[in-house]
């Protein structure tokens, strides 16, 4: 039977390198994807997600098992992303041309192929506008939305990741989605 994440983390606390490698393999894609969604830059996402694993290695002893390992690890990761955004805010504002790496074909994000070229264009614009609107949300609101839609996390777990109450998460989500709805209505 595969060892649980929590059991692996306990072994990492005892400096078991194999357990660490296994945890990295299990979480690397999720960590990178979430970091990329928050930072919108592949290099930053790689650096920050790797830093989260280093912190995991260093702090594994402080994982008390009171929460799920994933929640504890996401907390490390999300805090690093929020810190990174805070530190780079002014530099990015000054240096950005378009601000992210949305260069990949937007149509690839569509679940179903759209044949009409006008519809295609509209769908592409909708996705782009929505993506930009998500990027412009307040950092904690964006984190809550991404954890909800991308990681399918429950409000309770998001609250533990963001270290706030469930009521606060509900308000974050409500406000964020109200903002996104308004953006879409304005189009």
């Amino acid at each position: 039977m595969e060892p649980s994440d929590e059991a692996l983390c306990e072994r990492v606390a005892r400096r078991d390198e194999a357990a660490f490698d296994l945890l990295v393999s299990r979480y690397q894609e999720r960590a990178y994807r979430l970091a990329w969604s928050m930072l919108r830059n592949s290099e930053d996402a790689r650096d920050v997600s790797q830093e989260a694993f280093i912190r995991l290695f260093e702090a594994a002893g402080s994982f008390g098992g009171r929460s799920k390992f994933s929640t504890w690890f996401y907390r490390i990761l999300v805090n690093l992303c929020l810190d990174h955004k805070r530190k780079n805010r002014w530099w990015k504002l000054w240096a950005r041309d378009d601000g992210d790496e949305r260069g990949e074909p937007l149509l690839e994000r569509q679940p179903a192929p759209v044949t009409d070229p006008v519809e295609k264009l509209n769908a592409e614009r909708t996705m782009k506008d929505l993506g930009v609107a998500v990027d412009r949300l307040a950092p904690r609101q964006r984190a809550a939305v991404l954890l909800r839609v991308q990681e399918d996390m429950a409000t309770y777990d998001i609250a533990r990741v963001l270290k706030c109450s469930e009521a606060t998460v509900r308000v974050h989500l409500h406000r964020a989605l109200a903002t996104l709805k308004k953006t879409m209505e304005k189009r």
């Binding site: 393999s25 990178y32 994807r33 592949s42 694993f53 991404l146 839609v149």
Partner: protein, 159 residues
């Protein structure tokens, strides 16, 4: 009609509300066409948001792990360097100089009397100043045992 359950709609859609809350939201939705419409829009919006984020650029995971391993080793090496005798002595000296500067600054700011280690230790115990009204009448500030047992003294205090 009850207050609109705006902030409950996302957890409701995910099916994570406890039964009582869920029933309350469902009762409201049955009566309130606006909230019903909002709920549908919200469901659609959540799906659109998920799609709008899209997948991240591809990563070579073997290289990713190799880089991570290098970074981890570099971090360990840096830590290990700090524990060598020379850096330790260097940082101890810097800490000593900083301490001297701090004491000297304290001396200047308090107009002469520097803070002694005993006073500093006493200061750290002074959470007890919540009991300041009792303490100020005791004139026993040097006797930490007495101060540490203020609750006991409280019982013997004349009413």
């Amino acid at each position: 009609m009850a207050k609109h359950p705006d902030t409950d709609l996302v957890p409701y859609l995910r099916g994570e509300l406890p039964p009582a809350e869920r029933e309350r939201v469902e009762r409201h939705l049955a009566e309130c066409p606006d909230c019903r419409q909002d709920t549908e829009l919200l469901r659609e919006l959540l799906e659109q948001v998920a799609r709008s984020i899209g997948p991240p650029p591809d990563v070579n995971w073997a290289r990713y792990r190799a880089e991570l391993r290098e970074k981890l080793e570099a971090r360990r090496a840096r830590r290990a360097w700090w524990w060598r005798p020379v850096p330790m002595a260097l940082s101890a000296s810097v800490a000593g100089v900083l301490l001297l500067v701090a004491v000297w600054t304290g001396y200047q700011m308090t107009g002469g009397e520097p803070i002694t280690p005993d006073q500093a230790s006493l200061g750290s115990e002074l959470g007890l100043l919540q009991e300041y009204r009792v303490v100020e009448q005791l004139d026993l500030l040097e006797d930490l045992d007495v101060i540490g047992n203020l609750d006991g003294l409280d019982a013997g205090r004349p009413s």
